[in-house]
Subunit: 341 residues, 2 copies
C-alpha cells in the first residue's frame, strides 16, 4: 500500500528532511547541488506533486485567480467577446502557473450565491470583474470585501478601483469622423444598452465626433440590447428616417443591421455605410465585410491579469486606470475599401 506522497515521505526516501525537499520544490537557492539532484530524482520517480491546499493554507496564497462574469451570460456567450477575454486571461495565468476559476452568475444573485463564494478566503488570490453595468452592486460588494480585484471596463462612478478598459469613446468618435469624411450627411446610431458604461461611452463618443464636424443624428437613434435581433429591428425602424450611414455599437448588432438593410432591398455600402464596434466577428462572416472599430480584447485580458497580480503582491497600491486604444479597420461596409485591409 503506497503511503500518501508528501514532503516527509519524499524526504525519507531521499534521506533529507522535509524542509530540504520543500526548498528544492520551490527552487530556493541554498541547497547543495548534490542533495538537490538526489531529491529531484526521487520526485521524478515518484511523480510527487505538492498538495495545493496545504500550500495555500501555509503560504496564504492560492495561485488561483477568479474571473467573474455576471448575469445575462446566456446572451453574452453567443458573443465572441468573452471567449476572447478568457483566452487572454488564461494565457496570462498559464504563463505564471496560476489557475483560472470561472464564476458565471445566473439570474439574480440570491443568497449564498456566487457573489459570496467569490470572496471566500483561501479560494482565490484575487478576482477580475467584467461586464460592468452602471451602479453594479458587485463592485460595491467587492470593495467591502477584503479581496484584491480589478475591473474590466469602466465602473460608472469614479470610485477608486483598478481597472482596464478600452477607449470606447475615442473609437466611436473615430467612426463618426470617418463616416463624415466619406461624405455621409445623415448618420444614424444603433446604441448599446445605456445601463452599461461601454454603451454610454460609445454613444457619447459618436455624438461628440459628429458634432465636431457639424453633424447630428437628430432622431436617427435607437438602442439595442447587444443581440443580433435587436440590431436588425433597430435598423429596420431607422430606415424610415433615410439615413445614409449608421454606427452600430457592436458587431453582433451590426450583423442584424446588415440583414435589415438587405431585407429592405437597400445596398450596403451603396445606400448606407455601416461601421460597427468590436472587431470580433470574422470579416468573412458578412457580406459586405464590416468596417469596425477594433478593440484588443485579448490584450485587455492579459493586462488585467498582470495588473491583478501586482495588486495581489502589493506592487500596485494606487488605483490605476489602464485604457487601451482602439483602431479603425476599414473594410467594404462603409463604402471605402482600400487595398489590403
Amino acid at each position: 500500500m503506497a503511503r500518501r506522497l508528501n514532503l516527509e515521505e519524499i524526504g525519507r526516501r531521499a534521506g533529507v528532511s522535509r524542509s530540504t525537499v520543500s526548498r528544492v520544490v520551490n527552487g530556493e537557492p541554498h541547497v547543495r547541488s548534490e542533495t538537490k539532484k538526489r531529491v529531484e530524482a526521487v520526485i521524478a520517480e515518484t511523480g510527487y506533486r505538492p498538495h495545493a491546499a496545504a500550500r495555500s493554507l501555509a503560504s496564504n496564497n492560492t495561485g488561483v485567480i477568479g474571473l467573474v462574469i455576471p448575469s445575462a451570460v446566456e446572451t453574452l456567450f453567443d458573443d465572441p467577446y468573452f471567449g476572447r477575454l478568457i483566452l487572454g486571461i488564461s494565457a496570462a495565468t498559464n504563463e505564471v502557473d496560476m489557475t483560472l476559476a470561472l464564476f458565471l452568475f445566473g439570474e439574480e444573485p440570491d443568497e449564498g450565491s456566487i457573489i459570496y463564494r467569490v470572496v471566500t478566503p483561501g479560494l482565490v488570490d484575487g478576482v477580475i470583474v467584467t461586464a460592468t453595468t452602471r451602479g453594479d452592486p458587485l463592485i460595491d460588494h467587492m470593495q467591502g470585501a477584503d479581496m484584491p480585484f480589478v475591473v474590466i471596463g469602466r465602473p460608472d462612478s469614479a470610485r477608486s478601483t483598478f481597472c482596464v478598459d478600452v477607449d470606447n469613446r475615442g473609437g466611436a468618435r473615430a467612426a463618426a469622423l470617418h463616416l463624415a469624411a466619406l461624405g455621409r450627411r445623415r448618420p444614424a446610431l444603433i446604441a448599446a444598452p445605456s445601463n452599461t458604461t461601454a454603451g454610454v461611452d460609445r454613444r457619447n463618443g459618436f455624438l461628440e465626433g459628429l458634432s465636431e464636424v457639424g453633424l447630428s443624428v437628430e432622431n436617427r437613434i435607437r438602442e439595442g440590447d447587444w443581440t443580433q435581433g435587436s440590431g436588425r429591428e433597430a435598423m429596420s425602424l431607422l430606415l424610415t428616417e433615410r439615413p445614409d450611414a449608421v454606427f452600430v455599437a457592436s458587431d453582433r448588432m451590426a450583423v442584424g443591421a446588415l440583414r435589415a438593410i438587405s431585407e429592405a432591398g437597400l445596398n450596403c455600402p451603396g445606400d448606407i455605410s455601416v461601421v460597427s464596434f468590436d472587431g470580433l466577428v470574422p470579416p468573412d462572416l458578412t457580406m459586405p465585410r464590416l468596417t469596425s472599430v477594433v478593440q484588443p480584447v485579448t490584450e485587455v485580458g492579459k493586462r488585467a491579469t498582470r495588473l491583478l497580480r501586482s495588486v495581489i503582491d502589493g506592487t500596485s497600491t494606487t488605483p490605476e486606470h489602464v485604457v487601451f486604444p482602439t483602431r479603425l479597420a476599414v473594410r467594404e461596409s462603409c463604402g471605402s475599401a482600400p487595398p489590403g485591409s
Copy 2:
C-alpha cells in the same frame, strides 16, 4: 486591529468551542437550536466565511472541478460550442456550490504545462476533459493519475472511462435519410477533421444513412477543419461535382458553405440542400436559415458534471457511457420548411 476571523474567534464571540461553530457551519444535526441561533448571529454580523484551503486540507476535498480544453482553442473559441458547454457545467456546479476551474491548453503541452497542473492534489476534486482527438495523450495521462475524470465526447479506443457524448452517428444518419427523402440523389459531404472522434462518427453516420437508401457520395467529399473558411473552400471545390445536397459536419463550416454556394450564383435550397450539425448558430444568422442536427450541448455539460460528482464521491464506479440523442431541426436550407419549425 481586527483579528483574523476564524472558527476559534467566532466560537469565542458566541461562547462556544470551534467544534460547535464548525457543526453549525456545516449544518450538522446535533446542535441545540438555541446555540445554533447564537452562532449564526455571530457569523452573520461578522460576515465570517470558512477558509477554503484549510477546509480542503482537513476534509480532503476542494469543492472545485476542473474543465480541460486542450489545444486549438484559438480556433475553437469562435465556436459557440465551448461557451455553451461552459454554461451548462457552470450551471451544474453553481447548483451544488462548487467552483469551476478552467484549464485552457496552449499549443503543445510542454513540460510543467497545464497537463500536470490539472492533476495537482488538493487543487480540484475531479476534471472534465473535452475535445477528444484520436489517440489523445491527455486521456492516457489522466488514467495514470489518481484523479477522477469524465470525458466529453468519445475517446477513440474503447478504454474504460466515464464519458458523455451525443449521438453523432445517429444524427448524421438522420441527415442522410432526410436529404434522401427530399429526393436528393447527388449528396455531398463536408466532413469534420478525421482526427476527432466526432468527425469520424458524423462521417460514418452520414455514409451509413446514405447506403441504407442506396445512395453514395462517390467523390463528393471534402474535409474541413471546423472553421467557416474551410467550409467555404470545401464547398466551392465540391461545386464542380454538381451535388444537389450537402451535409456539413458543423454549423460554422455550413455558414462558409452557404457563402460559397451564393458566390457561385447558385441557390440554396433550390439548387442545393444544406444540412449542418450542431444547431448552435442562431437560425437568423444565415439566409436561408439552416437545417441542423441539433446537439444538446448545455445538457451534456450538466450531465458530465453530475457524472463527475458521482465518480468523485464513489457513487459511480463502473465506467459508464452516456449518449444524448440529437434532433433534426428542419428549416429552409434543405428545401422543406414545415410551418413553425
